[in-house]
Subunit: 405 residues, 2 copies
C-alpha cells in the first residue's frame, strides 16, 4: 500500500473478496466489508443525471437507516447502470442476501457497482458467491488487501491510504480504499463520487459529524481531479465510523480528525490520477490570484480537460499558448495582460506575451518529469485552487477504443 | 472544390497568395483578397478571453470603418496571439503596407493570422512579400484556389463552397473559403470564429443586413461543430459583399440569400470536421425533444467533446452507455427513463435501459461508415439541435503531441 508509515487497520471492520464470475478476466470481483457492531456513515454520490441502480438504492438506504451501515457489497466488472427495473431488482436481491447473512436490515447494506454500463447484472452470481465471501471476512491485512484488489477495473494498482488521529494519548485510525482510472472527472454532490472510495475509521462519530467532515475533504480531493473529465454514473465516496477505537469525534478532536481525513482523501485522489488510463505525466494546476474559488476552479478544470493541453503534456511540449487559450475559453472573464504562467519554476507567460525569461529547453526539462506543477496567476484577487490532472496519450485511446464485437 | 454545381466566382473580388517564409514548410503562407470598389462587411469573432492581435485590430477596423473592407491580409504559420505590443505593432505595420498598395485607409484592411501561439510575428517578411502578392491579384479560379491553399495549417485539403442567389432572372454568387482542423470548438460572439472563414458575395447589402444574415448562419454552422472543443484565440468569420452583381439584398431577396448563405456555411462547417485532425468518423448528434435549444445544445456539446464517446466512435464501438453518461453530466436536468437513443436506424437505449431492439452487430455496422447520425430524444419538449463532431484517434494524439525541441 502507498503508506509511508503503516498504521494499524481501524478496529470494528472486517473485509473479504471472492470471484463471483462477473469480470471477464476471472479475477476477484466481489468485495465485502462488515462492521459487526454497525457503523455510522456519510456518503457522497455522483451529480450525473444518469445514475446506476446501486446509487439509487444506496441513497435510499443511507436515508432510511439514518446513516447506519452494517455491510458493504461491491461488485466490479458491471456498473449495473442503465439496466432498468432488472438492475434495481438485482441490487435489492443482492442486498437482501447479504442482510440475511449479516443479520441486519436491508437498508443497513450499502451497495456499489463498477464496470460496463448497460449490461444486465447477474444477481444470481453474486448471491451464489456471497456465503463464501461472508465466511472469509477478517480484520487482517490480507483481507483488507483482497478487498482493495477486487474492486479494481482498469486500475493497474490497488489503491489505499492510512492516517492516525491522536489526541491525549488515545488514537483512532483511518483506512481509505479506492479504485478508478477512467471516466474520472468527479463532481460529487453535497451529501457528494466510476470512482469508488471507502473510508473506514474507528473513531466514534454521528452521521451528521461525518457529513460535515466529508464535504470539505471531498471538495479538496476527489472533486479536484480529472483524468478525462467524463463524470461517471457510479461515483461514490463512503465514510464509515465504527467507534471501536474509544476516541470520539468532538470539538477537541475535530481538527486532528479532519487533518487525518484530508491526508487520506488527497493521497487516494493522487493515486487515482497517477494510475489513470495511459497516464505518463501527473500535472498539478495551481490557479492563484482569482476573484473567486469558483473562477479558479473553472479555469483549472478547463485546462485539465483540454485535449490540446493534455497531448502537449504527453510529449513535454512547453506550448503555453494552449494553456492560456484554454483558460480563455473557460467562461471566466479575466485580463490576459495581468496573467502569469509558470511551468515548474520556469516563467513562460507574462504581460500578455511570452516571458522574457522563457527558456524552452528548461521548461521542456521540467515537463520530462513524471510530475510537476503549472501555476497560473490571474492577479485578479486572492482566491486559489489546486487541481490534479494528467496527460492524454496513445495508450488512453487504445484502452478506450478497444472493441471487438 | 467541394461544389457539385460549380458556379461563377462573385464579381468585385480579386485573390492571390505567395510565400512570405512564415510556414516552416516553405509553402505559401500569405493570402490577399481585394475588393477594388470596396465591400460591405459583417464579422464574427471568437468568444475566447485571450484573443490574437489581428482579432483586436480587426474588431477596431470593422468598427472604425462602419463595416467597409477593401482588402484582407491573412498569414498562416503564426497566430500572432500572446505576442504583446510587438504583435499589435506587427499587425498594424502589415495593414499599413497593404493599405498603401491598395490606396485605402488602414481601417479598410481586415487582418487574420493562424498558426502557433506566442511566437513573434515577423512583420518584415510580410511587408517584403506584399508587393508581389498584390501584383498577382486576380479574379480567376486559379487565384481563388491559391488563396484558399495559403491559409491552410494542419488542414489536409483546401476548403470552399459556393451557392447562387437567383431572383427574377438576376443572380448573385456566394463563395466561401475556410481553414481549420484542430483547436476547433468555435463559440463565436454575436458580431461572432483558429477557424478562419471568408464569405464573398457580389450581392449589394448594407453592413447591418449582412450582420443580420450572418448571425443565424454562424449559429447553425460553425457554432454547431467541434473537433476537440478547444475554442481558439483567433476564430474569425467574415462576410463581404461587393454589390457587383447588380442584385440587391432586400425583402424580396432575403430568403434566397439566407438560404444560399446557410448552404455555404454548413458545407464549409462540414468540410472542417471532415478534415479534422486524425478524424476517421464524422458524427452528427441530433438531439430532439428538448425543453429548450440551449438544453439540446449543452447535451450535444458535452457528448461531442467526451473523450470516452470519441474514442468509442474511433473503433465503431456501440457503447451507448458512454453517450447517456455524457448527456447526464451536461448540466441539463432530464429524466433518463424518458430518453431514447438511436445510432443510425438502430435503437440502442430506451426506458432507462438497453433497447429490446438493440442489435450490437447492426449498430457496429452503422458505425463502420465514415459518417452517421446519433439521435438522442429527451421526450421533454419540442426543441432540437444538430451538432457535427468526430472521433478521437491515435493520429490526433500524434499530431498534437509531436514535439521536438
Amino acid at each position: 500500500m502507498n503508506e509511508s508509515q503503516p498504521s494499524s487497520l481501524p478496529a470494528g471492520f472486517l473485509w473479504s473478496a471472492t470471484k463471483a464470475g462477473i469480470k471477464a478476466s476471472g479475477k476477484p470481483d466481489l468485495a465485502l466489508a462488515l462492521a459487526p457492531e454497525g457503523a455510522t456513515a456519510a456518503a457522497a454520490f455522483t451529480s450525473n443525471q444518469m445514475v446506476a441502480a446501486p446509487i439509487i438504492i444506496g441513497r435510499q438506504h443511507i436515508a432510511a437507516s439514518d446513516g447506519r451501515v452494517t455491510a458493504l457489497l461491491i461488485n466490479a466488472g458491471n456498473a449495473n447502470c442503465a439496466t432498468g427495473q432488472h438492475g434495481l431488482d438485482a441490487c435489492v436481491t443482492s442486498c437482501d442476501t447479504l442482510a440475511a447473512l449479516a443479520n441486519c436490515r436491508r437498508e443497513n447494506i450499502f451497495p456499489s457497482s463498477t464496470g460496463i454500463i448497460g449490461v444486465p447484472l447477474p444477481a444470481e452470481k453474486i448471491t451464489a458467491a456471497l456465503p463464501t465471501a461472508f465466511a472469509a471476512l477478517a480484520g487482517t491485512e490480507e483481507a483488507a488487501d483482497s478487498f482493495r484488489r477486487a474492486i479494481m477495473t482498469t486500475d493497474t494498482k490497488p489503491k489505499s491510504a492510512r492516517a492516525t488521529v491522536i489526541y491525549k494519548g488515545r488514537s483512532a485510525s483511518i483506512f481509505g480504499v479506492c479504485k478508478g482510472a477512467g471516466m474520472i472527472g468527479p463532481q460529487l454532490g453535497p451529501p457528494h463520487a466510476t470512482m469508488l472510495v471507502y473510508l473506514f475509521t474507528d473513531i466514534a462519530a454521528t452521521p451528521a459529524q461525518l457529513r460535515e467532515a466529508l464535504g470539505p475533504a471531498v471538495e479538496a480531493s476527489f472533486n479536484s481531479i480529472s483524468i478525462d473529465g467524463d463524470t461517471s454514473t457510479n461515483d461514490t465516496v463512503l465514510l464509515l465510523a465504527s467507534g471501536a477505537s474509544g476516541l470520539t469525534l468532538d470539538s477537541d478532536t475535530t481538527d486532528a480528525f479532519r487533518s487525518a481525513l484530508n491526508q487520506v482523501t488527497q493521497d487516494l485522489a493522487h493515486q487515482i490520477v497517477d494510475d489513470g488510463e495511459g497516464v505518463t505525466h501527473v500535472v498539478t494546476l495551481h490557479v492563484t490570484g482569482a476573484a473567486s474559488v469558483a473562477d479558479a476552479r473553472a479555469i483549472a478544470r478547463t485546462i485539465a480537460n483540454s485535449p490540446l493541453c493534455k497531448t502537449a503534456w504527453s510529449s513535454g511540449d512547453p506550448n503555453w499558448g494552449r494553456i492560456i487559450a484554454a483558460a480563455g475559453r473557460s467562461g471566466v472573464v479575466f485580463d490576459p495582460a495581468l496573467v502569469s504562467i509558470h511551468i515548474g519554476d520556469q516563467a513562460v507567460f507574462e504581460a500578455g506575451t511570452r516571458s522574457p525569461h522563457f527558456d524552452e529547453a528548461a521548461a521542456h526539462a521540467v515537463m520530462l518529469q513524471r510530475e510537476y506543477t503549472i501555476r497560473l496567476d490571474l492577479h485578479a484577487g486572492q482566491a486559489e485552487t489546486r487541481f490534479l490532472t494528467c496527460d492524454l496519450t496513445h495508450e488512453y485511446v487504445s484502452i478506450n477504443a478497444d472493441y471487438s464485437s
